[in-house]
């Protein structure tokens, strides 16, 4: 008779992230761990083979063989996909976040599936057009809209999304050196929750308290499918635009340091300086996240 494995708990050594170290060094009490999350960044669930001929014990054979990377300390590069706690076990569909580029012309992307942010009036004038956000005259120009819901044709959008799957808070993370999040109605700048050591600003925007950004999707009819990014039951939508930072507006320093030059998006005969960046949108409740590529441009 063999011994039972009583190894019990799994002991792990944790490393401080760069932000963790910064807060610890600050000594102001901001280093306080109060919660945890579990992540599965390395897992490709496409390797989960439900049709494995040898039976269910072999479904996740490849998944379990996934090699795991060592921890690294950049806080924004880890925990990209989190595990989600939902008490129910009978869920077959889960909501996603999806970029809506079809609601109307103002939400369309520009060439190369990018949103462009013209960082000053001169660039707005010379390069303005589809997919170009006015980075100085906010909120004119293009806007960014994210829809949340079930992106399936199996369930009619007229069915409401289960209440526990409706996203009620979004986190927008973007490089604070480049721009700031603004609402699409008045162009008012959103309040930054915090800026980390890598100059990544985080904005927390909630349903109810930030009506200029987050609202429920009211278009729930099948015929609205051409306007909404998700095909099935719908939850909430996040809309925002971007104001260029003063540094980009008034200087070319960051363009020289972080970017390059290319042809203008709407006026290809001209050249513009550009910086490519990504805006990360995460559902605080459901954990789903998408990255929206953005190019900041300035007349060369």
């Amino acid at each position: 008779m063999a011994f039972l494995d009583n190894s019990g708990d799994i002991i792990l050594d944790a490393v401080l992230t760069d932000t963790g170290r910064q807060r610890l060094a600050r000594g102001d009490g901001s280093f306080k761990i109060v919660k945890f999350a579990l992540g599965d960044d390395e897992i490709d669930y496409a390797n989960y083979d439900k049709a494995h001929s040898s039976g269910s014990a072999y479904y996740d054979l490849e998944v379990l063989q996934t090699p795991i990377l060592e921890a690294f300390t950049n806080n924004t590069s880890l925990m990209k996909s989190k595990l989600v706690s939902i008490p129910r076990t009978n869920l077959l569909y889960m909501p996603v976040l999806k970029l809506n580029t079809v609601y109307d012309d103002s939400y369309q992307q520009g060439t190369d599936d990018l949103f462009y942010v013209a960082v000053d009036v001169a660039t707005e004038t010379s390069q303005g057009g589809t997919g170009v956000i006015n980075g100085e005259n906010v909120p004119q120009g293009a806007k960014i809209r994210i829809d949340q819901g079930l992106d399936t044709t199996e369930i009619s959008p007229s069915f409401p999304l289960d209440a526990d799957l409706v996203e009620t808070q979004y986190i927008i993370e973007m490089d604070n050196r480049l721009g700031h999040v603004c609402d699409t109605v008045n162009g008012r700048q959103a309040r930054v929750s915090f800026i980390d050591d890598d100059n990544i600003a985080s904005y927390f925007l909630s349903l109810g308290t930030d009506p200029g950004y987050v609202s429920e999707i009211t278009e729930t009819a099948d015929e609205d499918n051409g306007k909404i990014a998700v095909s099935g039951p719908r939850g909430t939508t996040l809309k925002f635009t971007i104001r260029a930072s003063i540094d980009l507006n008034s200087s070319t320093f960051l363009f020289t340091q972080l970017g390059s030059t290319t042809n203008g998006p709407t006026n290809p005969m001209s050249t513009v300086k550009f910086i490519d960046s990504t805006i990360r949108i995460t559902g605080a409740t459901t954990g789903y996240r998408i990255d929206v590529p953005v190019r900041f441009i300035k007349n060369n």
Binding site: I11, I33, Y93, M94
Partner: protein, 349 residues
């Protein structure tokens, strides 16, 4: 309500203190013989223009790969019979002794620097160590402190360097120190060094300061010629080299009579352990983009199938959702509604 975070309760964390020990062996050849000391480029021995001490490295010291392992110096008390203004570097040797004594032995009630006491019992008077070799180990080796009763120093003494045999190796150690050490030093705990395995009161030949990482060795342990059989070194008795030559000559002599030394260091590790408990209803779904295909869970065929997820990473967060620490598993752990897992995440300080 779906959620990706779980709050850590007060009962989900605890603090621990662990003492880690490393064995530090230093062979006699590394401190003399391995490297050519005649040229700075190849020497692991560094002498300074002030002449107050000598540094020993584990590799030629001009190399960036070199680590300092200890400093050597000698000194004697102003009350020593050897103190004489005619001596070479007399003032410096007294200054060294006084400096070490005031740091390690402290002051008496009148503010006078106390001399090193053979058994650490200052109140009883007793024998004082007035002519001493000081070995100051680098913190790189001693870390937080030297482990008690782990120190051993083997020196060659007696006869002349040319005729010495291994039988003339004298072993000095802090025998019995794990249960018998002193705490009346301003520099922390210290033990008495003996030449015999039994710690007999009144036979100590030196003191070892565990937290300071300093060994104080009386010169009286040396018999015969002090130094190596070579023209580069003074080869008189310990007393002759101590009084007649500079500090660096005594340091050379000590190195050349060093057979080897070893000790265990101690690192005090304070840890906070977070018990991250994933109960049966927690973390069974994933926000991984590959988890869904057209919003449908790829791990389920029907709604009655059990959800499954795989844990690879544990993130520890602040109240404002900032990732402060992260721990990785060595392999994915399967999480289903019929399993509960507790991850013990240890954060060392």
């Amino acid at each position: 309500m779906a959620t990706t975070f779980k709050t850590l309760l007060n009962s989900d964390s605890t603090t621990t203190r662990t003492l880690l020990h490393e064995a530090i062996p230093i062979t006699g050849t590394i401190v003399s013989g391995t490297y050519d000391e005649s040229a700075a480029a190849s020497s692991n021995i560094k002498n300074y223009s002030h002449g107050m001490f000598q540094s020993v490295y584990d590799y030629p010291y001009l190399s960036s790969s070199a680590n300092q392992i200890f400093d050597l110096t000698v000194g004697y008390s102003n009350n020593s019979a050897h103190s004489n203004s005619a001596n070479s570097q007399n003032a410096k040797k007294i200054n060294i002794y006084n400096q070490m004594a005031q740091v390690l032995a402290g002051y008496d009630q009148d503010g006078n620097i106390r001399e090193f006491d053979q058994d650490g019992n200052f109140a009883a008077g007793g024998t004082k160590l007035r002519e001493c070799v000081f070995i100051n180990f680098a913190r790189l080796l001693t870390k937080d402190e030297i482990k008690k009763e782990s120190f051993e120093l083997k020196v060659m003494t007696g006869s002349t360097p040319a005729t010495r045999t291994s039988a003339e190796v004298l072993t000095i150690s802090d025998y019995g120190a794990i249960n018998n050490y002193r705490v009346n030093s301003p520099a922390g705990e210290y033990g008495v060094l003996y030449t015999a395995s039994a710690a007999v009161e009144g036979t100590g030949v030196g003191l070892i300061y565990y937290q300071a990482g300093i060994v104080v060795l009386t010169g009286s342990v040396y018999d015969g010629e002090f130094g190596a059989n070579g023209a580069a070194y003074d080869t008189g008795s310990f007393d002759a080299v101590l009084t007649g030559s500079e500090i660096s000559a005594s340091a050379d002599g000590f190195r050349n009579t060093l057979f080897n030394t070893q000790f265990n260091n101690t690192t005090e590790l304070n840890s906070k352990i977070y018990f991250c408990r994933a109960n049966h209803s927690d973390f069974n779904y994933s926000s991984n983009p590959t988890y869904l295909s057209s919003s449908k869970l790829v791990v389920k065929e029907t709604s009655t199938d059990s959800p499954v997820s795989y844990v690879t990473t544990i993130g520890l967060y602040s109240a404002d959702n900032e990732l402060l620490a992260v721990a990785k598993l060595s392999e994915p752990i399967k999480k289903t509604p019929d399993t509960e897992v507790t991850f013990r995440v240890r954060l060392d300080y």
